[in-house]
């Protein structure tokens, strides 16, 4: 299928028509929570003005609190699995970096050997319609970690804003049939294509790049680098970077006890929290901020790469923007990749 075009004024009508068959998740300027992705009941709630949300859309598949099952004390500890509906979903307006993060989460939760029931239930039957970033922020660095503002990775359809229209790139068969079933699309003209290419070129020029080619070699022998002691020094050990990160997937499992019923839940956890690795005996293999910061960086840029051949970072820049002490992961990477790491 060739590239298609949809007029901007029609985009909401198109989405409107999908409500019958899909739950629609989209960027919303929420009165309470600000810029977020959430399930929308009407296209009026969708906001395509801001570049990206504050919290990543990972919680659509991997909510901060998930009820794994409940148990009853009345009978012989009968376990009651949660009800999870099979409704088809559309994640609309997702940015390419966040879509790429979904493919990373897939690698964690759907390994073939062990599959996360809840993640799969929430992510299966989902279509992703992404919007390329023609105006990236200065904190965006997707190109450094293997993405780009018009990346199709993890998307079923990619839309590129060309002013009056969106040029739609059907990426998968699922995406194609969604477009085919709609009367709002028409075949893109050479002029549409030219505008699209121009927008993409502009975006690619705007987005910052820096060289991390030395990173692998540095991290491979970098566990004991003196620089770790320096990197973490200003870190306050909060969970902002990990909670807002679209690829961070660590969690805790615990029980909530009621009189007759209780629940086993899982909640997001953070490698930056001291209790994350603390044994019941009191021993802790990562006792200080230094080890915990090293784990975060090494996991994203070395361990995950060793297991999955990609960085566990999509360069969305949320951790850069929202760190309360301006601990900038880009600077960390630059200093590690360059000679700032010090001698090992």
């Amino acid at each position: 299928m060739e590239e298609q075009v949809i007029e901007k004024k029609d985009i909401k009508s198109w989405i409107e028509g999908l409500f019958a068959d899909y739950e629609v998740y989209a960027p919303v300027l929420d009165e309470k929570k600000g810029k977020v992705y959430k399930k929308v009941e009407s296209t009026e709630d969708i906001n395509l003005e801001f570049l990206n949300s504050k919290n990543s859309p990972k919680d659509i598949y991997f909510p901060q609190t998930e009820r794994l099952f409940s148990f009853s004390r009345k009978d012989e500890m009968g376990l009651i699995p949660p009800h999870m509906d099979d409704k088809k979903k559309i994640v609309f307006g997702i940015r390419p970096c966040d879509a790429m993060a979904f493919t990373m989460l897939d690698k964690v939760f759907v390994s073939g050997e062990n599959n996360d029931f809840y993640f799969i239930k929430r992510s299966e039957n989902t279509l992703t319609i992404g919007i390329g970033c023609i105006k990236p922020d200065s904190t965006c660095f997707c190109k450094v970690v293997g993405g780009e503002p018009s990346s199709e990775e993890g998307l079923d359809i990619l839309l590129i804003d060309t002013g009056k229209e969106y040029v739609a790139e059907p990426v998968t068969d699922k995406g194609k049939s969604l477009i085919e079933g709609s009367s709002f699309f028409k075949e893109a003209t050479p002029e549409n294509i030219r505008l699209k290419e121009e927008a993409i070129t502009n975006a690619n020029e705007k987005i910052q790049e820096f060289d991390i080619s030395g990173l692998k070699e540095r991290l491979d022998r970098g566990f004991d680098l003196p620089v770790w002691a320096k990197i973490h020094e200003k870190c306050v050990g909060c969970g902002i970077c990990t909670f807002l990160c679209p690829t961070c997937h660590c969690f805790d499992i615990l029980d909530e006890e009621g009189k007759e019923y209780g629940e086993r839940i899982r909640i997001w956890d953070s490698c930056q929290f001291p209790l994350f690795t603390k044994h019941a005996s009191g021993a802790n293999p990562r006792p200080t901020g230094k080890e915990r910061m090293r784990q975060r960086i090494m996991h994203k840029f070395k361990y995950f790469v060793e297991n999955n051949d990609i960085f566990a970072c999509v360069g969305c820049g949320r951790c850069v923007k929202y760190c309360p002490v301006n601990l900038d992961i880009r600077e960390v990477l630059k200093s590690l990749a360059g000679d700032g790491g010090g001698k090992s």
């Binding site: 020094e233 306050v236 909060c238 909670f243 909640i267 997001w268 600077e331």
Partner: protein, 316 residues
């Protein structure tokens, strides 16, 4: 401000040269517009990285707990100097290990207010001018007066100069006493339901990242009650039933110990109004005990001490 910046550098250099300190906690340029970042200098590091401007939003006294055995120099705003007094009173730092470099402060800017001015467009650059801040965004620029973008805490700050310091930089900022409780008084007028609803609406945003706790110099417990699992005082989820408890107990722990430096709200990624609780408690403490946290270095917080004249209406 620029002259003060220079004087800070000279002072620090001298402290290192005279071997008075092992480490200096100050501000360095940030990697983003409108930001600075905490920096930790050792003797061999260059003092030229030190800055002092309206973007020095972090509460540096939070880091003192990491350097208990070191001789530390610290750049201290009014709020930080009060916090240092409290940390001294609560035996968290040793006076003999500390060189407080007091600075006069005209308040720091609130990035979230600027966000509103630019309509959410990213600020691509900023310059501090004598009478305001020049911000660049969306291919244009705009000058904003500082009063419009000052942090709420700074707008009602009565201690612009470090209340106690070993070295004071530059000239003292003029302090005109303002009533810091206007907003709280307005809130007190509201019905219980209205106040409860406001509280719930704010707390609902919380993602329980603990940034508010972790940036607070007065939160130094070895094991925080929220982390404790045996006993588990309340649930661990980020659902409001649990986060509500966290914020209520957190605020109460701050009673008589909060100087309203605003670190918690500045750090909060979800823009939760955390100050209305602590500010209300601050007002109550002032009314009941005539106590302002950290203003004097010999007056411990009321809940760490006992005086016969303490109010005791609650015992009936």
């Amino acid at each position: 401000m620029e002259t003060n910046e220079n004087e800070i550098r000279l002072t620090v250099k001298k402290l290192f040269d005279e071997d008075k300190i092992d480490i200096l906690i100050g501000y360095s340029p940030g990697t983003l517009p409108l930001r600075t970042s905490p920096v930790f200098l050792r003797k061999e590091d260059d003092v030229e990285v030190l800055v002092w401007n309206s973007f020095c939003e972090n509460t540096l006294s939070n880091y003192l707990k990491n350097y208990k055995d070191k001789r530390v120099g610290i750049v201290a705003k009014g709020c930080d100097s009060r916090l240092i007094n409290l940390l001294l009173l609560e035996s968290q730092v040793k006076k003999e290990n500390l060189v407080v470099i007091g600075v006069p402060c005209r308040g720091v800017i609130d990035r979230k207010k600027i966000d509103k001015i630019t309509g959410g467009m990213e600020v691509t650059g900023s310059e501090e001018k004598e009478d305001g801040i020049l911000i660049f965004f969306d291919g244009t620029d705009k000058k904003v007066t500082k009063a419009d973008i000052l942090h709420d805490s700074c707008m009602i700050c009565n201690y612009k100069n470090a209340v106690s310091s070993d070295i004071f930089i530059g000239e003292k900022e003029k302090e005109e006493k303002v009533d810091p409780y206007n907003k709280i008084r307005e809130m007190e007028e509201n019905s219980t339901d209205e106040r409860w609803n406001y509280f719930n609406k704010e707390i609902e945003k919380c993602i329980r990242c603990y940034a508010c706790r972790n940036v607070c110099p007065m939160c130094y417990c070895q094991e925080c009650f929220v982390d404790c699992t045996d006993p588990e005082w309340f649930g661990k989820t980020a659902e409001i039933k649990d986060t509500k408890m966290f914020h209520i107990v957190r605020a109460y722990h701050m009673a008589g110990r909060c100087v309203d430096c605003g670190a918690c709200v500045k750090a909060c990624p979800m823009d939760v109004d955390l100050r209305f609780l602590t500010k209300k408690i601050e007002k109550d403490v002032l009314e009941f005990f005539a106590y302002e946290a950290g203003v004097k270095d010999d007056e411990p917080p009321p809940f760490t001490t006992f005086k016969p004249e303490d109010p005791q209406e609650f015992i009936r």
